[in-house]
């Protein structure tokens, strides 16, 4: 997926004008926030778990090389093959090679954000493979030719009506009419169509929520079971995962799992939690003949050594998106790439480059709600601010905003100039605004007055009034 994050303001403008999107986001946000609240309130040890999970992940990241090598040797011992991809291109090439060696024509996919990150679908389709997304949300956006707008709920921007119409259009060639509008009817239709795909796929590709070093296992959590069909029915199972997904052992997994679904959807556990260890063994009734794990770096090891290391604790639960007022306003597509909301505003500049995404860390009020709900206690506002510092140093931002900021900085460092300049300016503004109490328009203030009035100042500055009264005391 080609990053479009540099066009954030335009994309946000389009999103703001989309009434259907507003309704979809409104509905989703209330559900996510309320359900998480209930789940967290019902678990008295939630904060302790958060602290424990932070420690687990910090320890793992501090010894990442060790745990990754352990994972590799255990996965290999279980009969799997581990591949290392330094960047997106290597990841695509590696997986394409596996598909070719398997003589594959059809690939089913479970939802994988790192798959989106490296542009896997496009690469496979260009090589004439048929790729079928099997997560319901991913399936919907694949039919629509769109990209995910939420890391947990990729089609959250779609209303049921839009989904029904999509199904009607794309399923007509299969001899199927328009499904009903109920959740159950839409799901049943998707299941009916996807079953056929599972049965004929040659390769199943899934992501991994976690990699377990002690056993060389990969773990996925899903609510639809599509991941299980993708990793057991096809002859070859390929797992694609970022290198930060590794955990030392199953004890650690249980700690983090207790946070994940509660933070994501408000469930205690997702419906399916699936552990895959190696290919099918002699006594197994099913499972793939080949088991591949492609470990993707793509900028992660650079983060490990710097001031953004804590971002690697992210478990992709989406709680920061669900609680972000900017995400609520514009939805995921405005962000222009795979990762959206607060976590995306940190990750995107780090992975695709700050020059292509400097709007994202700036398009945030630093209200701090994301950090408050992050199960891994990632200091997202602090990281966004650090990215702004880098952007400032590199001269990003509009000329107007840089000049305004410089003018303010000039005044703020010179109290005498500040005192006289503000005294005059506020005197004039206060006088001009005395009758209406606010301005509907004002030169140079279009950013403000485009959407709201500018209340008039009282006239005299506080410091001036204070000194004047002090003199009279």
């Amino acid at each position: 997926m080609i990053p479009e994050s540099h066009r954030f303001p335009d994309r946000a403008g389009l999103a703001l004008a989309d009434e259907g999107l507003r309704l979809a986001l409104d509905r989703a946000r209330q559900g996510f926030i309320g359900n998480r609240r209930k789940a967290v309130d019902a678990l008295p040890e939630f904060q302790e778990l958060r602290e424990a999970a932070r420690r687990v992940k910090n320890h793992t990241l501090a010894n990442l090389d060790l745990y990754l090598e352990r994972f590799e040797s255990q996965a290999t011992a279980a009969g799997g093959q581990v591949h290392w991809a330094a960047d997106a291109a290597e990841a695509r090439a590696r997986i394409l090679a596996i598909c070719r060696e398997a003589g594959a024509r059809t690939v089913t996919k479970g939802k994988s954000m790192v798959g989106e990150e490296v542009g896997l679908n496009e690469a496979l389709e260009e090589a004439d493979l048929e790729v079928v997304e099997t997560d319901l949300g991913e399936y919907i956006i694949q039919l629509a030719g769109e990209t995910p707008s939420h890391i947990v709920a990729p089609a959250i921007h779609k209303t049921r009506e839009q989904i029904r119409d999509l199904f009607a259009e794309h399923h007509a060639p299969l001899g199927l009419g328009a499904p009903g509008l109920g959740n159950a009817e839409l799901v049943a239709r998707a299941r009916e169509v996807l079953r056929r795909e599972f049965l004929r796929a040659d390769v199943g590709i899934t992501g991994a929520n976690f990699l377990i070093a002690e056993s060389g296992s990969t773990v996925i959590v899903t609510n639809e079971g599509n991941g299980d069909l993708s990793n057991t029915l096809p002859r070859v199972h390929v797992v694609i995962a970022g290198i930060e997904k590794v955990l030392p052992g199953f004890e650690d997994l249980s700690t983090v799992l207790r946070l994940l679904a509660r933070s994501a959807t408000g469930q205690e556990m997702s419906v399916y939690t699936t552990v895959s260890t190696g290919p099918r063994r002699g006594e197994d009734l099913d499972g793939p003949e080949e088991f591949h794990v492609v470990l993707v770096d793509n900028g992660r090891s650079a983060m490990l050594g710097g001031e953004f290391r804590e971002m690697l604790r992210c478990i992709r639960c989406g709680a920061c998106l669900n609680h972000c007022p900017v995400y609520h306003a514009v939805g995921g597509h405005a962000y222009g790439w795979v990762y959206t909301g607060p976590m995306g505003s940190v990750l995107t500049p780090l992975i695709v480059g700050l020059d292509k995404a400097h709007h994202l860390p700036n398009a945030c009020t630093l209200n701090g709600r994301c950090e408050q709900v992050c199960p891994m206690s990632i200091p997202l506002p602090t990281m966004l601010r650090k990215l702004r510092t880098r952007g400032f140093e590199r001269g990003f931002g509009t000329r107007t905003s840089r000049m305004g900021l410089a003018a303010w900085g000039f005044l703020a460092r010179r109290p005498a100039v500040y005192g006289s300049a503000t005294r005059v300016a506020m005197g004039i503004l206060g006088w001009l605004g005395r009758r209406r109490g606010a301005f509907r328009r004002l030169p140079l203030a279009g950013g403000w007055t485009g959407v709201r009035d500018l209340p008039a100042p009282e006239g005299e500055t506080f410091q001036r009034a204070w000194r004047r009264r002090g003199a009279r005391r």
Partner: protein, 286 residues
């Protein structure tokens, strides 16, 4: 949240606290009434209040836009001006949060200044939190019985983000407002959700900010309150501006003005009386 209140309970300490009022630039420029109300509250609570001269800004516009050098220069002058006080109080969660949480960060590589910044930061408080958590119950008792603004019987409180999440300010303003005579506090939906101000955010991304403040104003109106209060003039200017644009007759005050019984001309309301001088007319200090 800091629990300094227990150790510093005002009822036990005879000597008045010397408080340096950090006015904040928005109060200084836009809303002097808030500053005078803060002074009255602090004095009623038994503090000796000074306003060190030459104040400008807490440095957030620079800090939050990545200009650390300017933020650092401003921070040094703040430390110099305020380090002599027992406490530094700001009528803003946002500016108090900047000083309390972020000032020391600016001097990560400068140990002497970092120590000075840390010593100062630990003594910086948001106004309502200072009154409740530091001055204590006896002081709060003395603040009882203010009259609400004329015509205002119900008010709703907007939690400003920095005060709420960086400083744990939530119950303190509500606790104090409960002691205002004849004022009912009603909660709006999503009181703790950002209003869309966000400092320079609101002019850099006006469309998004506009959507956020529209939702805030909708929630304020649905709460059915006569007035909306908050502890930050930035949020209040944003909210008042949008209420005005939508023609909604909800009045807007800084919480300090209501607590001090000094709320007369709401934010964005026309001046009554003589042009240009009505602004602080009602706020003469007691």
């Amino acid at each position: 949240m800091e629990q300094s209140g227990l150790m510093e309970d005002a009822s036990q300490v005879p000597a008045p606290r010397r408080v340096g009022l950090f006015v904040t630039c928005l109060v200084d420029l836009y809303r002097p009434s808030t500053g005078f109300a803060a002074v009255r509250l602090l004095e009623t609570a038994g503090c000796e209040v000074e306003v060190p001269p030459g104040q400008t800004c807490c440095g957030q516009p620079a800090f939050n836009n990545g200009d650390s050098a300017t933020a650092r220069a401003i921070a040094r002058s703040i430390v110099e001006r305020f380090e002599g006080f027992d406490h530094v109080v700001a009528p803003s969660g946002s500016c108090a949060g900047m000083l309390r949480r972020h000032l020391p960060e600016l001097f990560a590589d400068d140990a002497p200044w970092r120590e000075r910044a840390e010593r100062l930061a630990a003594r910086v408080h948001e106004l309502t939190s200072f009154l409740v958590d530091v001055c204590g119950s006896a002081a709060v008792e003395r603040l009882r019985g203010a009259a609400p603004p004329r015509g205002v019987r119900t008010a709703t409180y907007h939690d400003s983000c920095s005060g709420l999440r960086e400083l744990g300010v939530r119950e303190q303003p509500r606790h104090l407002l409960a002691a205002v005579d004849g004022l009912d506090l009603v909660e709006m939906r999503d009181a703790e959700v950002c209003c869309g101000f966000g400092g320079t955010f609101c002019v850099k991304y006006p469309g998004i900010s506009g959507r956020m403040v529209s939702e805030k104003v909708e929630n304020i109106a649905s709460a059915g309150a006569d007035a909306v209060l908050a502890g930050d003039v930035g949020c209040l200017l944003n909210i008042a501006g949008r209420l005005g644009r939508e023609g909604r007759p909800v009045r807007v005050f800084h919480v300090a003005e209501v607590l001090a019984g000094m709320a007369e001309r709401g934010i964005g309301e026309p001046a009554s009386g003589a042009a240009g001088t009505g602004a602080v007319a009602g706020s003469s200090r007691g």
